[in-house]
Point group: none
């Protein structure tokens, strides 16, 4: 029904949403490969099979383009994790599954999220954007941790809120670091890595798997 009968192959003009995804694909690829500054709009446009002014028309400047990449990839990662964690599970199982999902995602998108994230962290203009994302992650993790602590033995020192935040930060940092480790050990299994981290950090839980 959309089929025009005109002589020229009218379907070349893709709808806007599709074009935007193509551009973001190309941008993620190039930003990851070259780094934010070394990436050139020319290469991104060429890789997307589109002319440069189109990129500007759809996604704005280089900076907004990068932010768009960041959001898309960040959201995808979040969804992967959230999709793996059900609120009905016991807290430690939530943690375990969340870690698995994260390592799995990073392993499957080796040139995506991790690299963009690292780029963003080192460039001032994106500090704000990143702080937001990170905060959201830390909050989720902190919540999980709170429900996941060993029952404080008798009157021993109790864990306070700031400690929780510190632990959450530490866990996130540890996880990022292991994501890098994973990059250097491609033969390792993301699943096993999640288990290892769990066992190492919460030795009071029964080993999983």
């Amino acid at each position: 029904m959309l089929a025009r009968m005109s002589s020229t192959p009218t379907f070349k003009r893709l709808p806007r949403a599709v074009r935007e995804q193509q551009m973001l694909d190309a941008a993620v690829k190039v930003f990851s490969r070259r780094g934010y500054h070394a990436a050139s709009m020319d290469e991104i446009a060429e890789d997307a099979g589109i002319s440069k002014p189109m990129v500007y028309a759809y996604l704005g400047t280089k900076e907004t383009l990068f932010i768009a990449c960041l959001h898309r990839e960040g959201t995808r990662m979040m969804e992967a994790i959230v999709g793996a964690v059900s609120a009905e599970l016991p807290p430690d199982e939530q943690l375990r599954r969340g870690l698995r999902a994260f390592f799995g995602f990073v392993g499957a998108h080796r040139d995506g999220w991790t690299v963009l994230y690292r780029q963003a962290r080192s460039e001032q203009p994106f500090a704000g954007e990143l702080a937001d994302m990170r905060t959201r992650v830390v909050e989720v993790v902190a919540t999980l941790l709170r429900r996941n602590l060993p029952v404080p033995a008798e009157g021993s020192r109790e864990v306070r809120e700031t400690d929780l935040e510190v632990m959450a930060y530490a866990l996130v940092g540890a996880t990022e670091s292991l994501a890098d480790w994973l990059s250097d050990h491609p033969s390792e299994d993301p699943e096993r890595l999640a288990t290892r981290l769990m066992n190492a950090t919460w030795p009071w839980h029964p080993p999983s798997k």
Copy 2:
């Protein structure tokens, strides 16, 4: 105040070694503030109170200049840590003091090492340099960890080498992450942070301080 207006005009024809340090100071400052790419050799030279050709004459290109910064700051950090850890101390005390020294150093040089390190991680040309430093740190930490594990209860599962490496990586990542957290919470005490991390990660040890 004291002895201002000294005998020489103090502002010109300084010996090479002095100028090199001035340049490195300026470079560290500008690289931290702007990021590697956004930093301009002009600004670095101006900040060092010297003309650009001098920078090139003494420290070479922008890339070698950055590496020189990295080495100087990295070495300073390493020395701060090594100076705080004595081999005679029990392993867990070594770890504790090493962490304290690290956080203390990061806290005292807020715009130095951490930022440079982050920069370097996100630029390919410096990946190699950094990987070396990181590997050395991980090895040291892994050694400490090996001597620092809880005595494996009877026949329970034993910790293998790979687990150790993973733990070391995790600990280093957690520490780096907390170094960032420290940058965002300038009012926090580096000493306390080290304690918190120890308590959170090795709850089976008696709390320190």
Copy 3:
């Protein structure tokens, strides 16, 4: 005079091919006037009435730009000579006409080929390019010379191949030198110069013209 004030403003958004020629014109002019090193890309761009990035976009770096100049001018010269020489003519007439065409070309493009050629000879990066052109010319000349020798009298010493190559080189060198002489004597007639060289070098042929 004729059809000035044509329909289009004439000064912007020209198609690539046109702009490339404008750039090459400007480049030849500036390279000739200043020499390869002293010529600045700024001046070339300005002279072409275009911004510098366009020059880089179309013709590449300074080196490739110079080579492009060399090729264009060299090709034009070759065509001028080839167009003047018919294979049906007797060999000595071919030589005579070739010389005339060469001197005519040099005389008509005083600041073009000769100067570029001299520049190229003195810069290592272009040694290869030029050696090729020169070799081709020498081969052609050697062939002509071979067919153009006086019939060796009875048993007199015969001319060997190496001698031919040497003669060809000598003739080409002599011709180049005279092209310079022509630059210093603008009032001289290129036609007469060719005749003079012929008469001086092959006195056994009947004088032409």
Copy 4:
């Protein structure tokens, strides 16, 4: 009397003339190897084992330094040729010996005169200097040629002065060209080359050697 009795080895300070020759040696070497523009005063000073300000104190700017090189090498070449030619010899023998001496000199100083000369020809600032040298050479050659022509047969066309100048230029150009050819054929004997050029250009003379 100049001998100071001081404690330091006073004789390290070489007399000015010696130092100048060292500098010129270095300059000739570097100019030949790199070309006029690519040669740096730094490299020349270093190669001469002397500091840069000394070079400026003794030989002035880069331009005057190059001219000094040109003069020294040009004079050496002239002396080599003049030393080989005696006014008592028959004209054609003078020519023959002059060519031999020239090719011999060029062959022995492969990186000296020829390269400097070529450099100078392609840079405006040295046009004047070179024109002078060349004129002197051409005049000598023209004189030799005048005495060296075949006795004009009966009433045939006579050779005029301009023809002589043209011939001299042609011969000089041919010779330069063959000097290049010699560079590409290091196994060839400069002596034989002189003979070949003579035989080719003045076939009416009895072959020499």
